[in-house]
């Protein structure tokens, strides 16, 4: 971009991460910058690689759930659920209805927790320091409920193949009802604080634009895809468990810029609260685990099951050789696939935008690197 052809200028290489405060974990971007403009960028991943997929091959099916907790460590229930559904599909297990409702309640609350975390850290990326504390306060309420239900705040290991680990506490339903009211107020508070903030609008509108065709070709899913105008939601397009019984709206954006991605997530949080409310109304008493053998030994075969994670379409491809351990397990991590579009979005962006664009993809490195 130099105006004097005889003057040779070199782009500066800026190494952002893995210890940079706003790369959401240990993601590393190498930026080539011309002044404040990004000329090119190259993502480097793998700093958190633990070989989860390989580790799964050495654990029995029941134990693999704990590894799935550690993939996307801010939406643990959603991960557990998709793996358990894969094994259930392979073994043809009928999950009791009550277990499915409890699973859905926990997963949708997990979606709210995850989107709250996004909202807070996104505000932090944009430079606002207050929303993160409000968002964490609200998220804390959800985690307290999780602690009461599963005994753990994050790595729950609560969803089991065929159902759930144990019956929820006696005060579960009134407690969730109370939580819903508090969360609605909490999400609204963060929403009011940030969504139409002048500076926030200036920072996020028209930044990191990706149109729906490009988004599809990069394999974006979840809020990132819906922000571009395509209403693809696994819960709607390939309904699973009890989602056919639930009415909810899939919020869809239009331009696919950072603000749209943010807005879609905030609206999804409201929708998830509605889903939980409906689940509470429809839930009935009943068993939480079917009659089945204690150690799961799926028959020989393979299965691909996917579900809607807060970050997008998480898929599990499972090959069984008839033993009690998976022969091969492959995860389609939504964060990883969303991350591929990063370079496209960062074309001609500013350094400050790089942070905002990365934040708007809402990646979790535990899932990207596995």
């Amino acid at each position: 971009m130099t105006t004097h052809p005889e003057l040779e200028t070199v782009d500066m290489m800026l190494n952002m991460g893995p210890q940079h405060p706003s790369t959401h974990g240990v993601f590393r971007m190498v930026l080539w910058i011309d002044g404040e403009r990004i000329v090119d960028m190259e993502p480097h991943i793998g700093y958190l690689h633990r070989g989860s997929e390989k580790l799964c091959e050495g654990e029995s099916y029941g134990q693999v759930v704990t590894l799935f907790d550690r993939l996307d460590y801010v939406s643990n229930f959603n991960n557990e659920q998709v793996f358990c559904r894969a094994v259930e599909r392979l073994m043809d297990i009928e999950v009791p209805e009550r277990a499915m409702y409890i699973r859905t309640i926990l997963c949708e609350l997990n979606r709210v927790a995850s989107h709250l975390l996004f909202l807070g850290t996104y505000a932090l990326d944009a430079g606002a320091m207050t929303p993160v504390l409000y968002a964490f306060r609200e998220r804390e309420r959800i985690q307290n409920l999780y602690e009461a239900v599963s005994g753990a705040r994050m790595m729950h290991n609560f969803i089991r193949i065929g159902g759930i680990k144990e019956e929820v506490p006696a005060d579960f339903v009134p407690r969730v009802r109370q939580l819903l009211g508090e969360l609605r107020r909490g999400v609204e508070e963060c929403d009011n604080l940030l969504t139409f903030n002048e500076v926030f609008l200036a920072r996020t509108r028209g930044v990191g634009v990706i149109d729906s065709d490009t988004a599809v070709s990069y394999g974006l899913t979840g809020p990132c895809l819906r922000a571009s105008g395509l209403a693809y939601d696994v819960r709607k397009d390939h309904p699973y468990e009890i989602y056919p019984n639930i009415s909810f709206t899939v919020p869809v954006g239009e331009y696919g810029d950072c603000w749209d991605r943010y807005w879609v997530r905030v609206q999804e949080a409201y929708q998830s609260l509605n889903i939980v409310e409906q689940c509470l109304g429809q839930m009935t008493e009943g068993p939480i685990m079917p009659q089945m053998r204690r150690i799961a030994r799926p028959p020989k075969g393979e299965v691909y099951v996917h579900g809607e994670n807060p970050r997008g379409d998480i898929g599990v491809y499972l090959v069984s050789d008839g033993t009690d351990k998976p022969y091969r397990l492959k995860v389609r991590p939504p964060s990883y696939c969303n991350l591929t579009a990063l370079r496209h979005m960062m074309k001609d962006a500013f350094i400050a935008d790089a942070v905002v664009i990365l934040g708007s993809l809402d990646i979790v490195l535990g899932e990207v690197d596995r």
Binding site: P21, E36, S247
Partner: protein
Amino acid sequence: MTVTFTDVILVTLALLSLLTGLSVVVLSLTWLERKFLGRLQARVGPTRVGPMGLLQPIADAIKLLFKEDVIPGGADKVLFWLAPLLVFVPSFVVWITIPFARDVVIRNLDLGLFFFIAFSVLSIVGLVLAGWSSASKYAILGGFRSAAQLISYEIPLIMTILATVMLAGSMNFIDVVDGQRTVPYAVLMPLGLVIFFISGLAEIGRTPFDIYFAESEVVGGPFVEYSGAHWAVFFLAEYINTFMVAALVALLFLGGWSWPFGDLPSAAAMALFLAKTYLVVLVIFWIRGTYPRLRIDQLMSLSWKVLIPLSFINIILVAVQLFYGWPAWTLTLMSLAVLAVPIYAQIRYQRIPAMERARRYAERGIVQRAKVRS
């Protein structure tokens, strides 16, 4: 004029007392900021050291002084050590001429405002040098950003100061305050107050203009490689500058130590001035707790496309009112009318489209209806 030994002693004592006073102010500001932000953010702030955490800043200062002072390997040592002083000294020196009350001032200069402008600009050099000498890419980016930002915002800042000088007919701080005995300039010239406050925020790098040390982008900018006592000096300068901008808003626009009900005794006047200053400081902290950070290009266009033209318009308005001798309220009206233009533009072209967009999206949401349960 001969300088006697007593003069030297007196000046030294005055400077020492000023330094002590400013240090106390900085300690109080850090405590106030943490407590105030804590309250805004549903926290309690520091509570452990001393009653209500009042001794926390002192504990922090001791900690900073005893920390290891790391100098990065590739750094230019001389400049690296010099840079904090180049930032601190100008921000300290300008206090020599800033009065706390009519007779509480170290040296009242007839060109006090000029002195302030001349010295406050110097701190840019320190920031750029800090960025340059650190031998770090983030630091150099921050240094460049600070140069661009501070130079751009000097202009609207100085232009609004000139407008107050025109109103007061003097560059002496005391005359400027005396000119506001009945009506503070904030009422006469709301446009000037807004421009001055915004450019003041940018000058001291406070949210939403904390671009040159933005944590989430350039991780501390020019200060990224500094630690221990050298970092503490930057920190000190930053808070002194915050207090300085607040004090200037109080002096130039809120009437300083005067109020409309006659003269106050010296101590009460000083208390009034400090109260006004701390109020402005709280507004600065409040903005910090609310707003995200602007981007560098938006920052520059705000200065060159909005604030600088507005500050010239402000001067013209004051000049017209003074030249034709119109009553004071006409200036207020004109000022408010001009101020309404950018506010209207912001709402019309930024906020309303975004809200319409959200409304449109909300209507377009794909509804998944529940199947009728059997």
